[in-house]
Subunit: 293 residues, 2 copies
């Protein structure tokens, strides 16, 4: 089963981190006639990949990645899923090319912000003559659309929280720190760092239980793509678990950047949001009122 | 025991939130010849105030605060210590003046950022003809001085983390979200929201234990005064517990804004830092290299 693209550009590799996204990308690739090779990131990918050609590599192991690309005739690469760890120095197995040609690469890999690291990885892969494509190019149906996705819409109070959390998320993203923030009652109460969105939502739930955040005001989670971010890597994503965690944190809903973020398992997500009375909406910060009003 | 200031300007009231700061301010006031009245914030202040004139009020209870000011002939007010909760709507007991003269005040109190709320409280108190003074005016010895306080100095790696975390803290402060950030290996891994500095440090310790942050790179906590902040309210502060929490989070040290933050229990803090091999230093972001290099 080889598509025209495959013949002309070589086979597609899916670098699979954690979470649901790699599965969606792999299925979408199959539907589009590809026969993707799954490069499983050790200690990150959390599903079995039986039924696909696959191989596991350590997270800093560029030497093995290079060998895999050659072995399978890879011409295009999509990076998908979360990478929670950074490699330790001793885990990095650079290629000679990295050592000689990109001297700052190792340091970036060990200590750069997420975005800096992903940019470097993209550059390294492209330096091999391969093309890096975005998950949304393989699975365009995952892209967030503008406006409410489910039955519930944000109210006036929610709009204010969307603006506040959106402002914080934008600034945080600009500093390559994180993609999300939570505003409750017009006040930003939590901003996302290495702990990630679920960790941040759990913190909000704990602060609520401790009386540090009012139980009477609901609040909003906003996730935005980092302004400088190459959208081929690490687009913000939400899934059913995001909705359930937002519910546990007492939030009124979730707003995520339209056109530059991914909604996983959309039908199940909308069902979960509707059943729990939460809104989910795509927002566009380029439009007045974030495209909502 | 009445000082000249007391006679001319009325008695000093210390509004006491949580933590150690109110005690230091009260003792310093006594040393300066004052006889302060302690206004204990219910559910926030965590020490006994025997030996001082004192009264407890609920956090939104402006009516009682007004009565206390009159009863004791208060002319000057210092606000000190942390306030972890925001009042619920039903807890607010406004004065008629607040209701009629400052219509936005209640909303601010319920949902503004820390800085906005404190500005409003200052304005309300000054509207009564009282003067609001900073904790550092009563206890100037608490102000952070520039440069290393203990035996350990930051190294080159630490300087980079100070700059990164400082940049994040400055932006966060500008949005009135929080005062602190942690950078490890040149990467900002945590930013402070409602959980506060100790909560953020605990999170870093947990992320370390889970392998989400390298054990090999140490990192730095930076706390800055919010750029727009009235320094009579809520100056950043560190105490012995900050040092011990930073140690538990695996950090190399703590940097805090010189001249616009407070060091509590300085001798014990320096001893704790020295014993644990952590640096503590005052930084000045107006100077090249934050005044350290």
């Amino acid at each position: 089963m080889a598509s025209a693209a495959e013949t002309a550009e070589g086979r597609l590799a899916i670098i699979a981190g954690g979470g649901l996204l790699p599965s969606y990308v792999a299925e979408a690739a199959r539907l589009a006639g590809e026969d993707p090779v799954i490069v499983i990131l050790k200690d990150e990918s959390d599903r079995r990949w039986d039924g696909f050609d696959h191989a596991m590599i350590g997270i800093g192991d560029f030497a093995s990645l290079d060998r895999l690309f050659k072995k399978y005739g890879i011409g295009r690469v999509v990076m998908s899923g979360s990478v929670r760890r950074r490699p330790e120095w001793r885990e990095v197995r650079p290629t000679l090319r990295i050592l000689t040609g990109v001297p700052a690469a190792i340091r970036t890999l060990l200590s750069g912000g997420d975005d800096t690291v992903l940019q470097m990885v993209i550059k390294l892969i492209e330096g091999r003559g391969l093309r890096v494509v975005g998950a949304h190019e393989i699975a365009p149906d995952l892209l967030t659309t503008a406006g409410p996705l489910g039955a519930v819409s944000p109210n006036k109070e929610d709009y204010r929280d969307i603006e506040r959390a959106g402002e914080a998320a934008e600034v945080l993203g600009g500093l390559d720190i994180g993609q999300g923030a939570v505003s409750i009652g017009g006040r930003v109460v939590a901003v996302e760092g290495v702990e990630g969105t679920d960790g941040m939502l759990e913190r909000v739930a704990v602060l609520r239980a401790a009386g540090r955040i009012s139980l009477r005001r609901r609040g909003v989670l906003v996730k935005l793509c980092k302004p400088q971010q190459d959208i081929r890597a690490d687009l913000p994503a939400i899934g059913v678990s995001t909705i359930l965690n937002a519910k546990a944190a007492g939030l009124a809903g979730v707003a995520i950047e339209a056109g530059r973020s991914l909604v996983l398992d959309r039908d199940a997500l909308i069902k979960a949001a509707d059943e729990n009375g939460l809104f989910v909406c795509g927002i566009d910060k380029g439009l007045p009122g974030w495209g909502l009003q």
